[in-house]
Amino acid sequence: MAKPPAPAQAPLIAARGLTKRFGDFTAVDAIDFDVAPGESFGFLGPNGAGKTSTMRMIGCVSPVTAGELRILGRDPTTDGPRIRGRLGVVPQQDTLDTDLSVMDNLVIYGRYFGLTRAESRRRAAELLEFAQLADRAGDRVDPLSGGMKRRLTIARALINEPSILLLDEPTTGLDPQARHLLWDRLYRLKQRGVTLVLTTHYMDEAEQLCDRLVVMDKARIVAEGSPRELIERYSSREVTELRFPVGVQETLADAQLEGIGDRIDRLPDRVLVYSDDGEAVGPAVHARGLRPETVLVRRSSLEDVFLRLTGRTLVD
């Protein structure tokens, strides 16, 4: 795999041959990557690809089995607590203290980073504004919606003004509106120069938030680049989705479609045609006497990249 161009500044995170094994099972298999300051970096892949294991090693809560990992220039094996003091962590599963109020959750968390109570309270009030939760400060955590809990977790992760914010599947399980609100908050952080490292199995999330990403599959990195670069390298400008009537879809011969577009992928429920001019595909198909029920032209996405790289869709 081609190395990415060397970042102008020394990387905040550098991994070489990073490996995590649980007994005989290899969760992360000798991966290399760098994250530059201010960058928004993503790990994209299906469940079980090794994203969370990688994040836990970066978070200095899971020992590295083999290979080298440097975070802020330091070794997590010997400097774990010190590095963790400069990280903000948004775990996949909520770890908010449901026996405490929204405000208490932030203030006590600040205490873990050695903040005075007064300073922790000051930052907590600011962060609740940022997370649009100021009016819920005195409430318990339990009645909050999923989206609110996620925003509170992000606010909590920012209490130490971290150099790197780690987000593991930040919007999994949220409804579309809550996701967009969360993306907006993360985008603001990115604008402020916070380095974001996130995992996702959503292509649209990766496209929205990541400057650069690696695609993981079966414990390895299979591609690396910006969302645009990956689409250019592994897909085409446009994709035309053809849906044929039930019965036709199954019996359609490859030869009937050959030569249309640059490349064709057949999924169980539809046919994807990759080309630079998606609008031209419909007439070309009709000219061969095929009658798809629907023809949808859309921009190519990371979903297409993943399909190309692994032969599988991302949907579980």
Partner: protein, 269 residues
Amino acid sequence: MTAPAIPEPRPSAGYLAAYEHQILLYLRNWRGSLFSNFAQPALFLLAMGVGLGSYVDKGGANATGGVSYLQFLAPALLVSSVMQGASSEGTFPVLAGFHWVRRYYAMYATPLTPRAIAFGQLAWNATHALMVGAIFCVIIGLFGAAATPGIVWSVPIGVLTGIAFSAPIAAFMSTQRDTNAWNNIWRFGITPLFLFSGTFFPIDRLPELIRPIAWLLPLWHGVDLARSAALGTVGDQPLLAAAHLAILLAMAVGGTWAMFAMFRRQLEK
């Protein structure tokens, strides 16, 4: 490259912050538990000490070494109650920390070490044991159930006994996902201990054959030590008292070590 300047966190700050979290949890949720902290000792002293005691005392005070049954019972009941409370504190908060609320994982994402997280829990359990013991001691005073001022020794002895139970139980519970195993420990461990560790009657009333078992029952060491301190009889068998203390200390230290090791293993998974 030169590493960016990162301030070295003071390890002691982490230990204190983890303890502070537990205190905060109590301050926000104390209402339910405080009433029972007062009511339980009063009920036990009334029923067992005053009620049952009036029967026992009719048989003469020989069986209880010359003091009333209430005075005989009070220090032992204090230690037993503290032990039970501390055992619970080693159970449910640990399950909550790892599984129900997952607050230990939140703590571990910060400069806190597994040891600081375990310390915070255990230090709180000891603090709670101290509160329960102190309240119990006040109630004993109100009942006129103290044979000598030595009753106050029951409080620190209770706390030590509490740690001796709470720490190894917490170490074990860190490996559990639910209370199934725990229910059996309570049913076949804690409850028999409560009944047969000399709390309600001296262990020399047990059949000769099973009497040595008392030595293996950790609660007996706390109960017997607290009783001899309260009745002013430590001087009669100083070696026995020293042995009690040594065994309780060994359990507390060993249990704490195990708890630290198990918390680390669990969090680093």
